[in-house]
Amino acid sequence: MIYIEGYALISSLAKSAKASVEAIKEGNISTIAMGDTSYYKISDTKQLDYYDLIEEVIRNAISNANLSQKELKEMALFIGTSSAKLPLNEYHATDSGVLLKDLHMSEVSDIIAKRLGIDGFRTIISTACTSSSNALIQAKEMIESGLIKKAIVVGVELYNQLSIKGFDSFMLLSKSKMRPFDRERDGIILGEALSAVILGLKRSSFELKGGAIMVDTSSITAPHFNNLKEVMSKALQSADIQPKDIELIKVHATASIQNDIAEAQAINLLFKENPPTILPLKPYIGHTMGACGTNELVLLLESLKSGFIPKSIHFDNMDEECNLIPNLTELKSKRGYYLLNYFGFGGNNSSLVINYK
């Protein structure tokens, strides 16, 4: 059994998981204006803080898990990110006028490992919005195989123009606010955030019980409900549970027209007339792309630990095509199984199952 031994988060809400969840409870959410759209920005940070922020979030997770220096040295490091070093490259591009200075992804894990004294296996996983959820599944399977004993899984997505302009080129950015599954939804608001999750064999309240990764080749940009249903089914199978066992689904819910319809149809197909509680988290921290896997997991775990399940915000009217209503009131946290969905460009889809014991 693979447990979540510790975690940490730095988000636009606050610079710790605990404070981020307190901000959710108090409704203290803010975005900054960026042209026609908005952005969820971590306060008081610059592009050059890239490595310092990653180091900080890992150190916070290590402290949260009470790890020794020896354990840290032997750990494997998985970094899930879509943009990788682009924030740094863009800083140099604007500073020097040279567009491409350096993409060299492996340098990110090398520098972080060196700063923290990590001597174990390390990898960068870059699969768009599923980067860090896939990293969690890969790390879990590698621990189960016996190749490693413990892993730090980091999700990192920091401000960069390429992601914002790229999403804008597809007309996917919201001009108002993120309203998953709402009839009036008009798209995504991007955000920056990073988090770290420690996986290992030491018993804790949260078990990473299962997970699945699949590719959907029906469309490069829009998921098909059949594949989404299949990836959720496979995640449940890997956890050896049934749809009826799920207490809540942390939905991917980007608030884009097509994605929300496909995800809602997949959930309605799999869970039939009894869907569990539906919780979108992106309206709180934005779509943090490759980091949303660990970011939204940490937000959910810390909320559960704090005794509540957040309410869904910005939802007013159900979209008939989605036929899905997210959780509109704050609930008390409950022990049980939680399903988390993450879907990305290139048809890369993954689902995780957490058991809160």
């Binding site: 604007t94 890969q138 123009q161 080129s169």
Partner: protein, 221 residues
């Protein structure tokens, strides 16, 4: 873990980058140089082998598709306008995997990583689970050769797309990977290209050691 098939596409660049699309049996409209380079290697490795749909795909590249990234950054920072949507999309690493999966009707796991060592270690886990794995390492050159030399200091510029089709079963395999180990880091730095040169050679055994990973490869008789 067995090597069922491999490809070793390597091309020296001294002028313009070649048209890889011309080498592909199945072409995609919006693919860029990196994606076409990837597909040339995959096509040469898989040939007409029917892959199980749950085959895992690992694509390793430290710098990804630099030419398209430059185009997108040029739109944003120099021309001050939005990038072309499919140029942006081609910079997204999972999109490269989409084309491979689409080409071979795969619906399994697709993972983009930074290095060969990282890919083969994760592939080893899938193989232990009984899955087949298609694993490649792709390196693109920047079409502005002067910029390429400045960034990488390469005297000879090459593009490469090297692939392994790995299987948990020995049937029909050309080589066996054994003594697969992760240990504390070493100073050994076996080049990935040496593994592929070995597979093309008449030699029977090969030892790979790089950072924390070591394994040996023995040709099947």
């Amino acid at each position: 873990m067995y090597i069922y098939k491999f490809s070793n596409f390597v091309e020296k660049v001294d002028g313009e980058l070649s048209d890889k699309k011309a080498l592909l049996t199945k072409k995609f409209n919006r693919s860029d140089n990196f994606i076409n380079l990837t597909l040339v290697g995959v096509q040469r490795c898989v040939e007409d082998t029917k892959l199980p749909s749950n085959t895992s795909i690992y694509l390793a590249s430290d710098n990804g598709n630099m030419n398209t990234t430059i185009k997108v950054l040029d739109s944003i920072f120099i021309k001050n306008r939005l990038p072309m949507p499919f140029n942006f999309l081609n910079t997204v690493n999972s999109v490269k995997l989409f084309y491979i999966a689409k080409n071979f009707n795969i619906d399994g796991k697709t993972i983009f990583v930074d290095s060969f060592e990282s890919a083969i270690i994760q592939a080893f886990v899938d193989i232990k689970q009984g899955k087949n794995v298609l694993l490649g390492v792709v390196t693109e050159a920047i079409d502005n050769l002067e910029l390429h030399r400045e960034m990488f200091g390469d005297k000879e510029i090459i593009e490469s797309s090297r692939w392994l089709l790995l299987s948990p079963k020995p049937d029909g395999a050309i080589a066996k990977i054994e003594e697969f180990q992760l240990s504390n880091s070493t100073t050994s730095k076996t080049k990935t290209s040496k593994l592929f040169s070995f597979l093309e050679s008449n030699k029977n055994s090969f030892s790979f050691k790089r950072d924390r990973l070591s394994f040996s490869v023995k040709k099947m008789l």
